[in-house]
């Protein structure tokens, strides 16, 4: 087997008569020509020693020397095949050009924000698949996105090969402005009701069980009267009251419905352990224009042993709108579902005592109304302003 240097820089195979093997070996040894020689007379010399060997060996013994082999030999044989050289140069140029582009954007660290939202933010700042890396100023891009998006606390774009790995840390409590607790406060009624139960931790109860209260009435007062006059405190406690609320839902006869138009593959990738290989990705899909349905397919051996390989695909489904007329039964069903949803979301923290529902058809609309009697905590803290 040829050595690496012989393979790269070229070598030739030759042969001498068996009786001249020792003579040839000695000649190579004395002239310090590196070679491999077998007792049958086969030998191998480097391309760079060829001329010296020819000059020394020709007058002494007969031998045969073959064509150059190895990489040099290949290039030597193909020296007139200009197409190969053109193809190699073209390939190198393509590799050089394409290695300077962003080929994939992989986003990690996001939980509330979807990948598409972050991709949109990157695209808005001129960073997407196909962008030349040399035009990307990562620090400026990161700073720009952080300024634009308050829901992103930190973003880092790392280049590994041609793939951009975007790491994101989302901001906590976006939009929630924490209000400082007031020093002195009352607890007032958030809605009308009949007091069922009152527990005072601090302050003075302003109502008693069975009292009817209106929205805004003081339930627990932070103003405490004592022997020396009046002092203020922060009222604390819970006040439970029974209230009544009418909840309405409606269903129209004519309805515009979404109809799926086109289903397109958004992306497909194979994940082996934690390493993902992208097979296909379509960057044209956005959440506001279509629904994205993601599927993860896992594989198991004999339905028992889960393999560390899974196929993740996502399809984007575009929708169009079409109108149709509902039947009366369907209108009732739709209104009922909507009302059930409303009641569940509105009274999930309350005890519903009674529920009576009535419905009526209006002008192309079915109205469904539920009268809900429920019991809940109606106290709300209200700061006392002292001038």
């Amino acid at each position: 087997m040829a050595r690496l240097d012989e393979f790269v820089f070229g070598y030739r195979r030759g042969s001498v008569e068996k009786k001249h093997v020792a003579k040839a070996a000695n000649l190579l040894l004395k002239n310090e020509i590196c070679s491999v020689i077998t007792p049958e007379g086969a030998f191998r010399i480097r391309e760079k020693d060829r001329k010296r060997f020819l000059a020394l060996a020709k007058p002494k013994f007969r031998f045969d020397l073959g064509e150059p082999l190895g990489v040099y030999g290949f290039l030597h044989r193909s020296r007139r095949r200009y197409g190969i050289f053109a193809a190699v140069i073209t390939l190198l140029c393509i590799c050089l050009f394409t290695s300077g582009l962003v080929w994939d954007v992989r986003i990690s660290g996001n939980e509330r924000l979807s990948d598409y939202v972050i991709e949109d933010a990157l695209i808005a700042n001129g960073f997407e698949v196909g962008t030349p890396w040399r035009k990307v100023d990562k620090n400026a891009l990161e700073a720009e996105i952080l300024t634009e998006r308050p829901d992103i606390a930190w973003i880092s774009i790392n280049r590994r090969g041609t793939v951009a790995y975007v790491e994101v840390i989302e901001s906590e409590n976006v939009g929630i402005i924490e209000q400082a607790s007031p020093k002195y406060s009352n607890i007032v009624a958030e809605r009308d009701g009949v007091i069922e139960e009152i527990t005072v931790k601090s302050g003075v109860a302003a109502v008693k069980v069975g009292d009817v209260v209106r929205k805004g009435d003081i339930l627990i007062s932070g103003v405490v009267e004592n022997e020396s006059g009046v002092s203020f405190c922060r009222a604390e406690g819970s006040v439970r009251a029974q209230s009544v609320l009418n909840v309405t839902s409606e269903a129209s006869r004519k309805v515009n419905e979404k109809q799926p138009l086109k289903r397109k593959l958004a992306y497909a990738r194979v994940v082996i352990f934690n390493f993902s290989i992208n097979i296909f990705k379509n960057y044209g899909n956005r959440e506001n224009s279509c629904d994205i349905i993601e599927e993860i397919r896992e594989f198991a051996l004999f339905d028992k042993y889960r393999l560390p390989i899974r196929l993740e695909t996502a399809h984007s489904i575009e929708y169009g709108e079409s109108s149709r007329i509902r039947s009366e039964d369907e209108m009732i069903l739709v209104a009922r579902r909507e009302l059930d949803g409303k009641i569940y979301s509105m009274f999930k923290d309350a005890d519903v005592i009674s529920l009576s529902t009535s419905g009526e058809f209006g002008d192309g609309i079915y109205y469904l109304t539920s009268r809900v009697v429920y019991s809940t905590d109606i106290g709300k803290e209200s700061a006392i302003e002292i001038n």
């Binding site: 093997v21 020792a22 070996a25 000695n26 040894l29 590196c34 070679s35 491999v36 007792p39 049958e40």
Partner: protein, 93 residues
């Protein structure tokens, strides 16, 4: 030379300094063994079963099977194959 004591040098230094000595290393390889011999002046007999190497001070004979040689720079010879015996003889005989 009067009064000068002859200094004794370690054999390894002697080997590398003296032009008449040689050095041999044998290691196992996938083809049996590979023997690297330095300080070779010429190759005497060379067959599949026997390689005879001559140095200034003597003769080194490697006996075995399927022997091949590789000539390297600096008068170094590598012998590949199933080497079964290494014989050393001092002097030209």
């Amino acid at each position: 030379m009067t009064g000068n004591k002859k200094r004794l040098l370690p054999s390894a230094i002697l080997t590398s300094l003296s032009p008449s000595s040689f050095h041999i290393e044998i290691k196992k390889s996938s083809r049996g063994a590979v023997a690297v011999v330095s300080g070779v002046m010429s190759i005497g007999n060379f067959t599949e079963e026997c390689v005879e190497l001559l140095s200034h001070s003597g003769r080194l004979t490697l006996v075995g099977d399927s022997l091949e040689i590789s000539v390297l720079e600096g008068r170094v010879v590598e012998i590949f194959g199933r080497i079964t015996e290494v014989r050393l003889s001092y002097g030209k005989t």
